[in-house]
Amino acid sequence: MSKRIVIDPITRIEGHLRIDCEVDGGKVVNAWSSGQMWRGIELIVKDRDPREVWLFTQRFCGV
């Protein structure tokens, strides 16, 4: 019977990352990573004046 391990939040990185691991007999048999935050910047920049889109996309990540 496999066991699921969840590590959330993953620290020392920017953003909200979550890792799910499926462990069977001491071995990782499956794993998923998922971002836990969404701001919809794609929708915010849609139809915007291209000259100011950098303002928004620049803020994907401040690191």
Binding site: T11, R12, H16, I44, R51, E52, G62
Partner: protein
């Protein structure tokens, strides 16, 4: 608004041994404290009082909640580039939980958070960066399987005070720009809706100046109350004046010398950026005087030749298009302002003051006309300028 901080640990007395151990001399340390006192507009002697509060061995616990953020606020705070200060902040407070800086991950750090919240109930400072998504039950930002909306409610209601760092947590910021896909909401709005009474200080900016944040924290530590806030919940020492009022390019504005496009003659000469959409005239912040990252003079957006886009101002940054000219809140002093130096042997008379008041009233009209005329002058020079069409 509650502004007493009975809950914070008693911070009287205590030597700065930790600082000495890190090679920070007493003289350097006092210089930093005095500088901070000056930046907040406090009297000279307050530097020593700040020094006393921050060298206390009992460090106040701080919990840092990250919502819809980009970590820019944390980065700007860490890169304040003041070698003693960046060490100081880690020595001064007990940062019990910070997703980006915690050494442990997952369960480990969630337990540290739980422990700190239980031990310091009602005593910790909660710092929030990032906006809180409320659409669809708040599913657009989760930590440890819980929505930040529920985490903010839980952590915010038990905190002594909340510092909303950055524009996102202060007024919604970039994620709240049209069409606000996730229902990004600032901290104070959530508190109002949920009836949480914890006081909130807003330190807007994208990112805010690290020193404005540090100064606010030190004020809380020293005086155990909030600094004076304006109606937007921002500390007055930092957000009391328009950028336009302290801008080093203001003389060019007053004289009608403008950059009309990037790279033109006026732009290269360092003229006023108003016509490129500079939002300095409607943005309250201390960028021109405090500057960024201790990098020397002109280390701020306008100093580098780019218009201010009003990142820290609610309903301006990310809301008004970048190249739309700002609305002028105050007026340029007209030539017929009463003289500052009185004639010999005469004081200000009641009649004189009344005349001056009348002139000032008329001046508003004159200045409105003047600002329209600015466009005309440029047209006369043969430059194309869409603004001048209106005048």
């Amino acid at each position: 608004m509650k502004d007493g901080f009975e809950g914070l640990p008693d911070l009287s007395g205590g030597p700065g041994e930790r600082l000495l151990a890190r090679g920070v001399s007493r003289r350097d340390f006092l210089k930093v404290c005095t500088g901070i006192a000056a930046a907040m507009g406090l009297p000279l002697g307050m530097g020593a009082q700040i020094a006393e509060a921050v060298t206390n061995p009992k460090r106040p616990p701080v919990i840092w909640l990250s919502a819809q953020e980009c970590t820019g606020c944390t980065e700007s705070l860490l890169r304040t580039n003041h070698p003693t200060l960046e060490k100081l902040i880690l020595e001064l407070i007990s940062l019990d939980y910070h997703e980006t800086l915690n050494a442990g991950a997952g369960k480990q750090c969630e337990e540290a958070l739980k422990k700190s919240m239980q031990e310091n109930k009602g005593k910790y400072i909660l710092v929030v960066d990032g906006s809180i998504p409320v659409k669809d039950g708040g599913i657009y930002c989760k930590i440890g399987g819980k929505t930040v909306l529920s985490l903010l409610e839980e952590q915010g209601s038990q905190a002594a005070a909340v510092i909303a760092i950055g524009s996102c947590s202060s007024w919604g910021g970039m994620p709240s720009a049209y069409p606000n896909p996730t229902g990004a909401t600032p901290v104070h709005a959530i508190f109002k809706e949920k009836g949480i009474k914890t006081p909130v200080v807003n330190i807007p900016g994208c990112p805010p100046n690290g020193y404005n944040f540090l100064s606010t924290v030190l004020y809380l530590l020293t005086f155990k109350k909030l600094p004076q806030l304006d109606e937007e919940g921002r500390p007055k020492f930092a957000y009391g004046r328009l950028i336009h009022d302290n801008c080093e390019r203001r003389p060019h504005f007053d004289a009608g010398r403008f950059a009309l496009e990037f790279g033109d003659d006026g732009h290269r000469k360092g003229y006023c950026l108003y016509k490129l959409g500079c939002k300095g005239p409607e943005t309250y912040n201390n960028c021109p005087t405090l500057l960024y990252n201790d990098a020397g003079s002109q280390a701020w957006p306008v100093g580098t030749g780019h218009p201010c886009f009003g990142c820290s101002e609610n309903k301006v940054g990310f809301n008004i298009p970048l190249h739309t000219p700002a609305v002028l809140k105050d007026v340029t002093p007209p030539v017929n302002f009463p003289g500052i130096v009185e004639d010999k042997g005469k004081g200000v008379t009641v009649a004189g003051a009344a005349i001056a008041a009348g002139v000032a009233g008329a001046a508003i009209g004159v200045a409105a006309a003047t600002s329209k005329n600015l466009g005309k002058k440029d047209k006369d020079k043969g430059k194309s300028d869409p603004e001048s069409k209106e005048s």
